[in-house]
Amino acid sequence: MKPVRLARSASLRLTLAIAGLILLAALLAMAVQYRTASQALERQEAQILQSDIDSFAELYDQRRIPALRAAIADRAAQTAQGQALYLLQNREGQTLAGNIDDWPEGLPAMAGGVSDAAPRVFTHAQGVEYNGVARVLPGGFPLLVARANTLTADTLTEMRGTIAWMALVLVAMAALTGGFVSRLVLRRIDAVNALADRVAEGDLAARLPGERSPDEFGALETHVHDMLDRIQNLNAATNRLSDAIAHELRTPLNRIQQKLDKLEGQPELVQELHGELKATVRIFDALLDISGALAEQGQRPGLVPLDLGQVVGEVFDLYDPLAEDSGLSCRCEVAEGLRILGDRSLLAQLISNLLDNAIKFCNPGDTITLSLRNAGGRHVLEIADTGPGVPDEIRSDLFERFTRAERDRDRPGHGLGLALVRAIAARHGAKIDLPRREKGFAITIAFPVLEG
């Protein structure tokens, strides 16, 4: 199994989701804050305008136009350019005082909408925005007081900038935290995943190195270790049991064998019984070999680098004369230098079983072909013959123990040969296939290549 990529990690997604929610909440809070601030500023401005115009109106009430003109001129002089507008006109529209010459364009003149009840936003010289109120003083004197929005706008812009920066920082922090947390989690999870992979491949003795930490990962690792210990113990117990069975049954068989030798007068019967004993032991051995190979499946210990072609050649040479004597023609096509990690004895047994079967089931005149080549990134061993092939009804469970075709009942054998072949192939991580042929039986076993 491949290690989980960071981008697809569940912990990253979870952290990012939580961080996103927090970020959203923070942004919402800041938006509310922003809105409150901008409203407060607006209210404050309106109040200032109101009190300005109120005080001017009061001055007019008390001391009439000359005093008002003086006060407005005074105020206009004190005010920095572009900060505030003051304008007092007479009934005819002539400017009496102020820092602008005429009623601003676009602002409806007096009787229009501008009143102190509804401040109006308008643009005046150089595009500066003003917020203004107007009032017609008794006697028909329109008075305009406006304050530039610049300050408010600047404050709000600054606030927006701060909010944007904060949001950026929060996003960055969320990404960093998410990455960090998931990397941390992934590392621990990956270690457990890698361990599980090794176990699945057959290395029951695999364990995580180092101490277990006192957190939930440590607890998970401890559980996995406990589980593996139990599996390993069970496995060892099973192996001990098979060995014990083999031992306990072989000892009485051995006594029978020794006593057979004492029998006199029926040498043929004794010979037959010897043969039966040998066959019984062969079944034992095959069953033990099958379970042994399956138990060690995927385990590297016990496998050594070897030239598969050499083993194939050796076993072929052992069987070739037998095939020839049985009237079969036998060919061996082996590519050179195909190396695998293997157990020579088991491999020899695998090839021997397959050749044995081929020779057993073929009729004189048939051909047996043994080939080894590299194909599709694997070293593929193929044994094919032109014999009677395999009946379809047993094809699917051909590799199960004790599977035999009905028509072969009178032939010697116990139906363990192919079960052992499959177990040995599995021990080597090899894939078995039964390609269909027009005539005869073919089996391919694809071994993993030994690199280098």
């Binding site: 060995d243 083999a246 031992h247 072989r250 000892t251 068989l253 051995n254 006594r255 029978i256 064998q257 020794q258 006593k259 030798d261 010979q271 010897h274 004993l277 040998k278 032991v281 062969r282 034992f284 051995d285 033990l288 070999d289 042994g292 050796e314 040479d317 052992l318 069987y319 004369p321 037998l322 004597d325 157990d343 004895s345 088991l346 020899a348 047994q349 021997s352 079983n353 044995d356 020779i359 057993k360 010697p412 054998g413 040969g417």
Partner: protein
Amino acid sequence: MTLEADTLEHPEEAQATDKPRRILIVEDDKAAARAMAEAVEDLGCEPIVMRSFDDGVTAAGLADFAVVIFDRMLPGGDGVDAIARIRAGGSTALILVVSALGRAANKIEGLEKGADDYLAKPFDPEELRARLRALLRRAEMTVLDNDLIAFGELEIRMKARTVHVKNDHVPVSPKEFELITYFAQNAGQVVTRMQLLEHVWNLHFDPQTNVVDVHVGRLRRKLETAAGRAVIHTARGEGYVFDPTRGDA
């Protein structure tokens, strides 16, 4: 140096001149121990039987044994683990492990851990005798790098890897040459099919068919044609006897 078959010392004859060689049997099963003791006596040697791992290891260090037969799964330990301790005790005895752990993998493990031979239970007494004979012979024949091994008119040249009968070259395949070499080393004695499979083909499992017979048959025919009489004889039961000096079939 030329080794003449006529001067070969047979273990059976050894006891007549010398005191019998001793073979230590470490086996907890009485029936098996008795069968082993009988096989040892058949070979003219003196059996000494021990019933536990520790007694076996101790005994191996106390006397000069030609061969030690060690069971596995004994009270007190695994006979395969005894090999190193017996060797460490200074014994030069050849060690034959006889065990119910009889799979090829068990045999290879035993041989890799230093056993000189490994026999699976249940064993045929004839097979045990053949194994013991081969070991006894190995113990006494230290030099085998003679270039020429001659049995009367049959000559085997080790370096050239050729076989001659009456000075005529007998063409043999490489495997057949290894076969005849192994036979020659055990001339006059029963050699079993399993022994041939193990020593000539280095295979430790029992094939379903007697593939070895075909190879021996071919070699036998070649030698018989050249010599004009049987050279390899079929032994009762399990094996063959290579004896160029014996005339019958």
